[in-house]
Structures are given as C-alpha cells and as structure tokens.
C-alpha cells in the first residue's frame, strides 16, 4: 500500500506550487504602475466581524476619489486607490502591507480599522518608508512605531479625559459604573476614565468588560441595579451597546448613559429604539453640523443614507494624504513616499469633516462635539 511518491507526482506538486507563487507574484494593475497617477493603498476589514465599519471606510474613500478626480485630480494626475480586505486578521494585514510596500507606485497607505492591524502593518510601512494614515486607530503605541504613522483621532488618553468631562458636565457622578468593550480601545478607555473619575472623587463601584460576541447583559444589569449607581459610562461599540441599552431600560433602570464617539451612529437609534433616548455621546463629526453639509449631501446622494463617524474618519484620512500630495504637486515636486511623509507632517491645520487636524508626532488634538439623543435623533447639546 505504501507507495513512494513518484517523480511525476513530485513534479506535479512542484508545478502547483510554482503556479500558486506565479499567481501571488502577478503584477499589480497596469494603471498603478504608471507614473501618470498618484496611487494610495487602502486596507480595512471589509468582511468578518468588523466588516460593517470597513464598508463605511470604503464608501467614503471611493466617494473622495470620485470627487477628487472629477475636480481634476492631483496636479492633473488622477488619484488611484488599491483596496484590500484584511478581515481584521493581523496576518492578512502584514501580507497586504508588504504588497503595498513593494509596489513602487503606492506612495501612501490608508488603514486599518483596528489598532492591532494598524500596528502590525505599521512595522512594515515604517521599514519601507511608506506614510500610513489610519482613519481610526487611537492606540498610543501606534504613532510610536515611526515617523511614518499618522492618525485622524486623538489618542485614547486625551480622549478619555474628554469623556469624563462630558459625563461630569451632564450627569450626576458620585457613583459611576464603567462598562467597557474588551478590545484594545475599550480596555484603555475603561482604565483611563476610571483613573480620571476616581482622581476627581467619584466612586466606580461597577467596572466590567463586555466580551466580543456577548449579547446577554442581564446578569450585568442585575448587578447595576444592586450597585445603585448615578450614571453609566459605556465605552463600547454601537451593536452590543444597543442590546445593552434595551436590557438596561427593560429592567427599569433610568440612569444617564454617557459614551464616546462609538455610540454616535444612527444605527444605534434604529437598533435600540426608545432605549437610546437620553444617551449622551461625544463625536468628531455630526451630519447636522451646517459646516459639513457638502460632505453629507454628497455621501447621501451616492449611498442613500447619512454618513457616520467611520465614513468621516476615512474621508479625512484620504483627504489629508491627498492634501499632502497636492502640496507637493503645487510646488512642482515629485510625489515620492518620503516627500509625501514630510508634506503630510508639515500640512497647515487641515479643516476636515472630523474637525481641525494639525499633527504633532502624527497625532492631532481635536475638539469634540457633545450630542444627546432626543426623540430618536441626535441633537447638539453644546
């Protein structure tokens, strides 16, 4: 029975392997190779558990590319974006980073959604000298990788102080419950807000993590009821938050819920219904803001709904990279990776849809808008 593999078999296997490698080595689309365009690589989780966020990124990026090219591109050259799906898996992110890095046409990378993937890819971009603009990574370690990393949001530590002041300005805060999502962002925000609240004399009797995929919060709600808290700081994503709010209000608990920008999402109101009323959130972007009407209208015309914060993040991320490239083109300089990195770092304060971005070591320091959900709609509180 046991037969040795014959030469034919071995040759066959070798051919299959060679074919696969050939497929991998296939050259990038011809357009990307040409010097007649400015090419960015964009990567995000377009499928998988963060697929919804990645899709918003992609929509905003495509909208921006369309608008830019309709307006004449960058110094007469069209803007081209190569799109890759990293599924939220670090191994995929590093492979994509290598793919972008070795494509000489790619002068900047936009992505990813999770800080984990942004960091994993960032190590490679740093080595290859590709400027990377992450739309949403707020992990402090991200911009510490190298001078090539930029981000649209503030870091989590400065943000956390802003959440705490939003809570203290708008809700009783002797005893505050903190519920945080069990990811890099949630843990950081949970710990930072707890420290800030306790430093200012508030008690935090309930400090609990929400696991990814968890949907049953009744034991937690029972605990909250017993703990008799004045208000709740909810550092979680809109999906589980909607379920949590429903279960909280079903249990008859009426405490004020304050959350960061992740709770600013029209889907939260759709999912949670009446339970969403009264929630106070912060955000960088609010479509009701009259100064953002051009972006909101264009997005709505193309996709049939209001843009959310994720769309706004990605829109600003690619806009800032493009602004850097335009600055080079206007000065008559070639758009190379290193030149683009310096151009992005030296951009004057950029007034985008998420507020004013001025980079200090890759990170901006922006102001926040505070919103409250009233009668099923976000309204400006301040």
């Amino acid at each position: 029975m046991k037969r040795r593999m014959n030469w034919l078999g071995r040759a066959g296997l070798a051919l299959v392997a060679a074919g696969l490698l050939q497929g991998l080595a296939a050259p990038a689309p011809a357009l990307a190779q040409s010097q007649d365009s400015v090419t960015f690589g964009f990567f995000a989780p377009l499928t998988g558990r963060f697929g919804a966020n990645g899709e918003r990124f992609k929509e905003a990026v495509n909208l921006f590319v369309e608008q830019t090219n309709a307006a004449g591109g960058i110094g007469g050259k069209p803007l081209v974006v190569l799109t890759e799906d990293d599924r939220g898996e670090p191994m995929q992110a590093t492979a994509i980073a290598q793919k972008f890095s070795e494509n000489p046409a790619v002068v900047a990378a936009i992505g990813s959604f999770t800080s984990g993937n942004s960091i994993a890819a960032g190590e490679i971009f740093a080595a290859a000298g590709v400027p990377q603009v992450s739309p949403s990574s707020s992990h402090p370690d991200y911009t510490k990788i190298s001078k090539y990393q930029f981000r649209i949001p503030n870091t989590q530590d400065t943000m956390s102080l802003k959440y705490v002041s939003a809570l203290k300005d708008n809700a009783p805060h002797k005893r505050v419950a903190i519920i945080y999502f069990q990811d890099d962002w949630g843990i950081f925000v949970g710990n930072a807000t707890k420290a800030a609240l306790e430093k200012d004399g508030s008690e935090v009797p309930v400090f609990e993590a929400m696991l990814p995929d968890a949907r049953d919060f009744r034991p937690l709600v029972t605990k909250l009821r017993q703990a008799n808290v004045d208000s709740i700081l909810l550092a979680s994503h809109y999906g589980p938050s909607a379920t949590f709010l429903q279960q909280l209000r079903q249990a008859g608990l009426e405490q004020t819920v304050v959350g960061p920008e992740t709770l600013y999402n029209p889907e939260l109101i759709t999912l949670a219904g009446d339970a969403a009323n009264g929630v106070i959130t912060t955000t960088y972007f609010f479509p009701g803001d009259p100064t953002k009407v051009a972006f909101v209208d264009a997005y709505k015309a193309k996709y049939g709904r209001d843009p959310d914060l994720w769309a706004a993040y990605a829109y600003d991320a690619i806009a800032i990279a493009t602004a850097g490239a335009k600055a080079l083109a206007d000065a008559g300089k070639p758009v190379t990776r290193d030149a683009l990195r310096d151009a992005i770092a030296d951009l004057p304060a950029y007034d985008g849809v998420t507020g004013v971005t001025k980079f200090v070591n890759g990170t901006p320091a922006k102001d926040l808008t505070i919103l409250k959900i009233k009668d099923g709609a976000y309204t400006l509180l301040q």
């Binding site: 029975m1 697929g51 800080s115 949630g186 929400m210 696991l211 968890a214 049953d216 029972t222 079903q250």
Partner: protein, 626 residues
C-alpha cells in the same frame, strides 16, 4: 444577598432556555446521524434572516416565521443530500468538516446578501416586562420557555410513539440493522437534518426576538454555546439538551455576577471541561454512542474507534493511493524554496512564504495529534498562541537569542498541551473534538482577559527579531526570517518523520485505530497520548515563536477558533497522518486566501466551496491517509 443570587439564577435560566433550543438541533442530528453538525449555527442564522427579510418586505410576522422555518427545513435536508450523503464511505472526520465548510459558505453568503451589519429584529412581545427580585422577565422569555419545553416534549413523544420516531431511533442505534428492517436510513438521516433545520430556524427567530437584533456572524457564538449545552447534557439526549442549556446559562450568569462579565465564558467552558472529566458522557449521556463507528462494528464490520474509519465501517474502505515523499525529498523541496530570496522574490512573496511555512509547521504538528493519534483537536490554535506569547514575552523581558526563544516557546507549548489536554485522554470520538474546542476557547479568552501578563486585546507590540546565538547572525531582515521559518519547518518535518516511523508512531496509530485492542495488547495509552501532546505542542510552539518574530506583534485575535478550524481543514485536505499531506494542505490553504485576494468579497465563499468539493471528491485527502 440571597435576592441577588436568586436573581442571577433566574437570569441564567432565561438565557439557558435559549441555549437549550440551539442544543436540541445538535442533539437530534448527533443522535440520528452520529455526527456533529457545525452548520447548525448557520441554519439558525438563516432562519432568523429569512424572517427578518420577509418582515422588512411587509409580510406579517405570523406568516414570515412559518415560511422561514419551512425554507430552513428544506435547506437542512439539502445539506444532508449534497454535503453528507456522498461522504458515507469517507473518513469519519470528513462529514464533520463538510458541515464546517457549509457553515463558512453560509456565513460568507449572508454577509454579501445582508451586509455585515447588525439589523433590528421585530419583537412585539418584549415590551411586556415582569420584575422578579433584581431580575426581570419579558414576554419573549415566556415564549422561549414555552417553546423550548413544548419542542422537547413533542420530540420525546415523537421519538417514542410515532413510527417515524422509532425508525429514527433505530437508525441511531444500529444503521445496518435498521436497513435490514426495511428502514430507509439515508432518508431518516435527511429527515433528522430537516428537523434540525426547523429547530435551528425556530431558535434563530427566538434569539432574534430576545436580542431584538440579528447579525450575519451570529451563527458562530450562539452555535458554540449550543454545542457546549448539548455536550453538557450528553449530546444525544433530548432532555439532556434542555438541562445542559439551563445549567450552562446558570453557570454563566453566576460567573458574570460574582467574578466579572469578562470572565463569564472562561468559567462556562471550564465548568464544561470539569463535567467532561468527571462524566465523559455528559449528564444524560448514553455510553452506547461513544464508540464512533462502533455501531456498525457490532454488526459484523471491524470495530474501531478511528477518526479515519468511515461511517460505513470497514466494508466501506477502499484502497487508496498514498503519496508519501521520503524525508530527503521533503527537505530537498524546502531547500529549493530557500532559494526564493536569491531569485529576487519580493518582500510580499517572502512575507506570504513565511506565513505558509508557519502554517505548514502547524499542520505537521496537528497531523501527529489528530492524524496519527486520532485525537480530533479543534483547539490547536491555543498552543500556537502559547508559543507566540512565550517568545514575545521572553524577547521583551529578557532579550534572549533566537535559539533559546524557540526552545522556550516549544517547551511552554508542550507543557500546556500535555496539561490542558490531559482531561481528553478518557474521552473518545467527537466528544474529544468538543472538549478541545472548549480548551481552545478558554486559552483564547484567558489571553484576552489576563491583561497583566498578555496585555489583553492590546497585544504585545514591537516584538524584536532576536539574533542567532550561533555565530551571532542578525535575523532582522525579512529574508532572514523566511530562512529561519524554513529551518523551523525542516526541523519540524524531521522530528515528525522520526516519530511517525518509530515504534512510537506505530503505537499512536494503533491507539487511533482501536484503543481497547491497543490497551489489551499492553499499550499504556495515557503515556503515548501524553507523548503526542508533548511533541505536537512543541512543534506548535515553534510555529508560534516564528509567528511572533515575523509579525513583530502578538494579539489574541490570531489564536481564535477560526485558526484551529483552518488547521484541521489543512490536514484533512492533505491526508491525515501523512506528513507530505500536511505540508501540501498547509501550504495550499495558507496561500489560497492570498491567491483569491483579487476576488476580495468572494474569498471566504470560494474557500468554503473548495473545501466542500475536495471533501466530496477526495475525502481521504490529496496525498492520502496514512
């Protein structure tokens, strides 16, 4: 205090009935067809989303629900017909993976059809709320409890009273005898899948109402809880599924209430593992089902407990062509690949090539455990993770040379494997698979929660690539890492070869083929299983260290159940217990997502379809089972 305790118990009972409903579908299929249906979660999701779509299109919910159940029932029967019946003579593990492939296809398709977003689900009854202590009950809760109990009672009556039910039970106990009695066994299995589809859809609709929302990936987390509940109850027992579900719910609720919401699943799965150690057959388990393949053995075939035996028993086996390259040829091929950087391979190719080598090491590691020793391991990513964390932490804290880091990672993973898999030594068949799945979940969740050591979801960034002690060679470049990965692969292949072709490897295969006969022939089974845990864990740990050095970043999401599933697919694809097969399967499946990158959103769909077709047309694997 007592009020709080009782309130948490009540919370647990409510969610427990949800789990029970999911568990019933598993138990039914396991009882009749003797397989674990991984597609049960997908059926649940399908039922929920069909209802959601019909309601959104304007159908009244009272019409939408029965229609969704009917369609899902038909889907369940179709799955049996297309993905399982052709695999009657395939190795026992093939149908298991076939249902897994279907789950992958359904999940990917659902994401394309309904987008990955959470959707709100109509739940008219949830506005009625009754308060009990610090807990509360809604109208939906009463509906779920009523439906679960009546489904259980209905199933038990149906199975004990009706002709159809008796035929189903006969099929479960002895398919060959049932065939001789004139029972159409394939039809019965198909019927059980249809029934499981109906139960899944019902569970999906009720879960949608309970959470007032549905999302395309819902099948996996809820399916996992359903598994755990069914296993706790004893897999093939109908009342066991209900009791298992409720107990699981109570454990979780108490864990959340008294330890912390973040530790709830760790504790739930640990309790499950403890129950399995004390009562391997679950609370209501039936010992007659534990010798998988044994049912046909009792009626004349060769009795065996082997994962590579087919459902049709010995008579269903056919001679296969085994492709098994000698060690020197394999090492030669690896050496040829080492030329890639010299031939101007791009960084992208080297990155993907290194990843493929890591997967190949993992596949070799798993094929020793699952292929040779017959321990179905759906938690292998745990030891990969232990190795990665050991290497990352050692590098961060001590800055040791590469050789020491690899050795440390390997030994750490080997020790973890031997300790964590110790409880599985007494288990057999698919029960082992579920226990290892639970172990894998526990390790992942501990990595996620033990922030002080692992930094939790923040991961460990900036892992340095250590130099070699030998000659002080700098290993910082990607090409150096690629070569290092190939050397690790060569070492892994050599170790695996030495093991499989020694008396130890022969003993592993004897244990896989017939554990009782091996014991009666004097083989100390626990000793040899401990040895395979050690060797397999060591190799997985090496792969983990290489992963940490390649990525410079280690975080828990790389060691989730998805990775374990990919690994087991690799070794089945290549051929169980066959090193050449493990290498072929490992490299092919590692490269596949990259090759299919062009098709972005169809990638997972294609991945599932390829797996399904290969299982259908070459169930013994590309290179054959050894």
């Amino acid at each position: 205090m007592l009020e709080l305790f009782l309130s948490q118990i009540l919370n647990g009972v409510v969610i427990g009935f949800v789990y029970a409903l999911i568990a019933l579908g598993f138990s039914l299929v396991f009882g009749v067809a003797n397989i674990i249906n991984f597609a049960q979660g997908a059926l649940l999701m399908l039922g929920a989303f069909l209802t959601f779509t019909m309601v959104r299109l304007g159908a009244p919910i009272a019409v939408a629900i029965p229609l969704a159940i009917a369609i899902t029932t038909a889907t369940g029967m179709l799955i049996e017909r297309l993905a399982l019946r052709p695999l009657q003579n395939a190795p026992y593990i093939a149908p298991l993976l076939s249902t897994l492939a279907i789950a992958i296809i359904f999940d990917a398709a659902a994401e394309m059809i309904w987008t990955a977003e959470i959707q709100s689900f109509p739940s008219p009854l949830s506005k009625y709320v009754v308060f009990v202590g610090s807990a509360y009950l809604t109208g939906v809760d009463f509906l779920i409890i009523a439906v679960s109990l009546s489904v259980m009672a209905g199933l038990m009556l149906f199975l004990s009273r009706s002709w159809m039910g008796k035929a189903l039970r006969a099929t479960a106990q002895d398919p060959e005898a049932a065939t001789q009695m004139g029972i159409n066994v394939p039809l019965m299995r198909q019927f059980s899948f249809g029934l499981a589809g109906a139960l899944g859809a019902l569970a999906g609709v009720l879960i949608g109402m309970y959470y007032m929302s549905v999302f395309p990936q819902m099948g996996i987390p809820y399916g996992l809880k359903g598994f755990a509940a069914a296993l706790l109850g004893g897999l093939s027992s109908i009342p066991g599924a209900i009791v298992g579900g409720i107990l699981l719910g109570i454990f979780e609720s108490l864990a959340s209430g008294y330890v912390g919401e973040g530790w709830r699943d760790v504790i739930a799965f640990s309790v499950l593992l403890l129950v399995l150690i004390v009562r391997p057959h679950g609370l209501f388990g039936n010992k007659s089902l534990d010798a998988l393949g044994g049912a046909s053995g009792a009626t004349g075939g060769i009795p065996t407990t082997s994962v590579v035996a087919s459902m049709a028993g010995a008579t269903g086996r056919t001679k296969q062509r085994l492709i098994e390259a000698p060690l020197l040829v394999l090492l030669g091929v690896i050496a040829l690949f080492a030329l890639l950087p010299a031939l101007g391979g791009s960084n992208y190719l080297l990155q993907v090539g290194t990843q493929a080598a890591i997967y190949a090491v993992l596949a070799v590691s798993l094929t020793l455990l699952t292929g040779s020793a017959g321990i179905i391991s759906i938690g292998h990513a745990a030891f990969f993770g232990v190795g990665a964390y050991a290497a990352a932490l050692a590098g961060r804290n001590w800055g040791i040379p590469a050789e020491a880091a690899f050795l440390l990672a390997g030994v750490a993973a080997a020790v973890f494997a031997a300790v964590l898999y110790w409880p599985t030594i007494r288990l057999s068949g698919h029960t082992v698979g579920l226990a290892t799945l639970a172990i894998g979940q526990i390790v992942y969740l501990v990595c996620l929660n033990w922030v002080d050591v692992t930094r939790g979801p923040m991961g460990i960034p900036g892992v340095q690539r250590p130099s070699l002690l030998l000659g002080g060679i700098d290993m910082k470049s990607l090409a150096a890492q690629y070569w290092q990965a190939l050397v690790v692969l060569a070492i892994a292949v050599t170790i695996a070869f030495a093991m499989l072709n020694s008396p130890i490897g022969r003993t592993w295969r004897a244990i896989r083929e017939d554990r009782l006969a091996a014991r009666a022939s004097g083989v100390p089974v626990s000793r040899y299983l401990t040895l395979v845990f050690l060797v397999s864990g060591f190799l997985a740990g090496l792969a983990g260290a290489q992963f940490a050095f390649l990525q410079n970043f280690v975080s828990p999401e790389s060691f989730m159940i998805d990775t374990s599933i990919v690994l087991i697919s690799m070794i089945v694809l290549g051929g169980l217990g066959n090193i050449t097969g493990a290498l072929v399967g490992g490299v092919l499946l590692a490269l596949l997502p990259e090759v299919l990158r062009e098709f972005a959103q169809y990638r997972m769909l294609a991945y599932g379809a390829i797996l399904l077709l290969l299982l259908r047309f070459r169930p013994q694997g590309l290179a054959g089972t050894r």
